[in-house]
């Protein structure tokens, strides 16, 4: 069987990524050109570690967006002749190389890694964002108002945080659970928060202007109801928004385990910031509690929250990988990195390189996020 050497493998690797390199070059050029105007993002240019982290993260983001140009084979296409081949083996039928080898069903590991990034880079940030919205909508009032409301919510948050994550996943992301309505209930609870948050923003900004308030509330409710019906009940009247029951289950479980942590951070920051003078000034001015929370406290908490969100996306990526590693949630064919690790890890005695694409992809993406967070933290502490 024909194969190519190590140098050619990396040459093909770099040429396949040419669209990604071009995007990265454009992005970095823009970043350096407008660095003065970009605030925190622009100041990142002074931190080599942050720039390296940003580079890795963007590499995967562009790779996921341009996956169809980068990948060589289809992610699901099997070929019985080329099973567990080492890197560099050439598929003689089509004349294309398996640059990272193939898995046990003869699927190209390189292409699966690239298509897998689409799944990971969609679910991890989306789940983090929803967890953030949940954490912010509950944590801001908990920190600002305090009292019994805070006691109850903090107790609930600690309840979830005392759970070993893995046990929770085994209980929540099981085939049995998917037959019940539990995932839908959980998703139903979590997806209501973006709507509540949007209403809070609208109410706090337009509380003086009645007609704008009514109009925008109406719009948010309509759009919210549309997305909600599609995401939670899988019954979008227009048929555009849909989510697989598997993915909904994973999504709900990940949000459930992540949001208490966000809640605690937001609550702590709020309790700290509410003692500042500008908050007292806003209260004296006669602003309502919603205005103070959303327009005074939240913007001033953004520094630590941005840093934390980077770390948290990385952590959620690890969680998704854990789910895949235990074979929970995702369909068994899925090319996401955790499932790939699970599918290939039994063959490392035969072909040690077989697990490398998925493991290194996952580790590098999380590393990129952590480095980026470190750079951002360093820069945001400077002022």
């Amino acid at each position: 069987m024909e194969s190519i050497g190590g140098f050619e493998i990396w040459l093909i690797f770099f040429t396949r990524f040419i669209p990604v390199w071009i995007c990265l070059a454009i992005f970095y050029f823009c970043l350096f050109y407008w660095r003065k105007k970009l605030g925190l993002m622009g100041r990142l240019c002074d931190s080599p570690i942050g720039l390296i982290g940003l580079f890795i993260v963007l590499f995967w983001i562009f790779g996921a967006i341009l996956a169809d140009w980068v990948a060589i084979f289809d992610a699901y296409e099997q070929s019985g002749m080329y099973r567990r081949k080492p890197p560099g083996t050439i598929n003689e039928k089509v004349g294309l190389p398996y640059i990272f080898g193939t898995d046990t069903l003869g699927r190209d590991l390189f292409s699966r890694m690239i298509y897998g990034s689409q799944i990971v880079l969609l679910i991890a940030p989306a789940a983090t964002i929803v967890a953030y919205v949940v954490g912010i909508s509950l944590g801001l009032p908990a920190g600002y108002i305090g009292g019994r409301y805070d006691t109850v919510l903090s107790f609930l948050a600690n309840l979830v945080l005392a759970f070993p994550v893995i046990l929770l996943f085994y209980l929540l992301v099981a085939p049995g659970v998917r037959e019940t309505i539990l995932p839908n209930i959980m998703a139903g609870i979590f997806f209501i928060f973006p709507i509540i948050f949007a209403l809070m923003v609208i109410y706090s900004s337009f509380s003086e202007r009645q007609n704008v308030l009514i109009l925008s509330t109406f719009f948010i409710l309509v759009i919210g109801a549309w997305l909600y019906s599609g995401l939670v009940f899988n019954a979008d009247p227009l048929g555009i928004v849909a989510i697989d029951p598997n993915e909904l289950n994973i999504f709900a479980a990940v949000v459930f385990t992540t949001s208490p942590g966000v809640f605690r951070i937001v609550r702590g920051l709020t309790m700290d910031i509410k003692t500042r003078d500008y908050v007292a000034a806003a209260v004296t001015r006669g602003e309502g509690p919603f205005f103070v929370m959303i327009w005074e406290i939240l913007p001033n908490a953004r520094g630590p929250l941005i840093v934390d969100s980077c770390l948290r996306i990385g952590y959620v990526t690890i969680l998704l990988g854990t789910l895949g590693f235990f074979g929970l949630g995702m369909e068994p064919e899925s090319p996401d990195w955790g499932s790939m690790i699970n599918q290939t890890r039994s063959y490392i005695r035969l072909v040690p390189t077989i697990v490398l694409p998925a493991t290194l992809a996952l580790a590098s993406f999380v590393l990129g996020l952590n480095l980026l967070a470190d750079g951002l933290r360093e820069q945001s502490l400077k002022d």
Binding site: L167, Y170, A174
Partner: protein, 312 residues
């Protein structure tokens, strides 16, 4: 202080009740019970037979009644019967917990000194070259989850160098057996504790009393050892204790990865095999461990930090 501990104990009991109820209700959802019935009695049962089996075994009663029955037994130390091992749960869980305890012991024995040293060295001169390289090292290790580092270490140490085996047998405490699982957990945890220690060290090094000690001409090294270290190590103590849920997750992954038949392996396989009583017992044991460490961390924090001890 006593009042504080009693209050904490009350919250912990309440948490334990809530969590065990959640676990109970999630383990005994309808589809799981049906599968259990099919496994236990007869694979080819009709729907009616399944229902009558459930009725006979008391799974049709209201959830709260079932839960209080289980709770009553659990309080007296009877955790039920394992449907997979055909043994009482107590005979299954405790030996496995012991195996995991040994693993954890070695992990903590290696992690704590190394990570504290790394954290203190990088935190005592913030921004120096040593600090930067150690920080990057800790970031790298925390970025690589156990299921990745475990596999990579297996390839390097077992497949290429042939030093150790790729699996670890429970109860066999040898270097060859323990290197891979211990190293995998240690690598992931070192980074996190080291970063926390560093942050705490940096904070202490910026305080006025350290400046005073330096200005009166004390050598740098004795300032660090005599003045800074005591205050700087309070926060890492809490962090190490609060790390416990993560440590437990790591142990489950590593035990699964290396086929180490300990507590984590039991938890995962019990959940897979629908072994209701074992899953419940494992869940409760795990939650009790986490809550106990939280309590120790709270009390220890107050004990180590006189400012908190005397103000309350």
């Amino acid at each position: 202080m006593l009042f504080f501990i009693i209050k904490r104990l009350f919250v912990i009991l309440l948490t334990l009740l809530c969590l065990s109820f959640i676990v109970f209700s999630l383990v005994t959802i309808e589809p799981n019970l049906k599968k259990l019935a099919l496994n236990q009695a007869n694979m080819r049962m009709e729907e009616e037979a399944v229902q009558s089996w459930l009725e006979k075994n008391g799974y049709k009663r209201p959830l709260l009644v079932q839960y209080s029955e289980w709770l009553g037994n659990a309080v007296t130390g009877d955790f039920g019967y394992s449907t997979h091992f055909k043994k009482p749960v107590n005979d299954v869980v405790w030996p496995k917990l012991w195996h995991t305890g040994i693993l954890m012991f070695w992990v903590l024995l290696i992690t704590i000194p190394i990570s504290l040293v790394i954290g203190v060295i990088s935190g005592m001169r913030e921004g120096s070259k040593t600090d930067r390289s150690l920080s990057v090292f800790s970031i790298v290790t925390t970025s690589v989850p156990q299921y990745v580092s475990g596999i990579l270490l297996t390839i390097i140490l077992s497949s290429w160098l042939g030093l150790v085996k790729g699996v670890a047998k429970a109860g066999n405490i040898t270097l060859e057996n323990f290197t891979l699982p211990v190293l995998t957990i240690v690598l992931y945890d070192i980074g996190y504790i080291a970063r926390m220690t560093r942050a705490s060290m940096v904070e202490v090094m910026g305080t006025l009393y350290i400046r005073t000690a330096r200005l009166k001409g004390m050598p740098f090294i004795s300032v660090v050892l005599k003045h800074a270290l005591r205050n700087a190590l309070i926060a890492p103590f809490t962090v190490i204790m609060l790390q416990f849920p993560w440590l437990l997750t790591g142990v489950v992954i590593v035990e699964k990865l290396f086929n180490y038949k300990g507590f984590g392996f039991l938890l995962v396989s019990a959940a897979d095999q629908n072994d209701i009583d074992v899953t419940l017992a494992c869940g409760v044991v795990a939650v009790v461990l986490v809550l106990t460490t939280q309590l120790i961390s709270d009390i220890g924090y107050a004990f180590l930090n006189p400012r908190i001890r005397f103000s309350s």
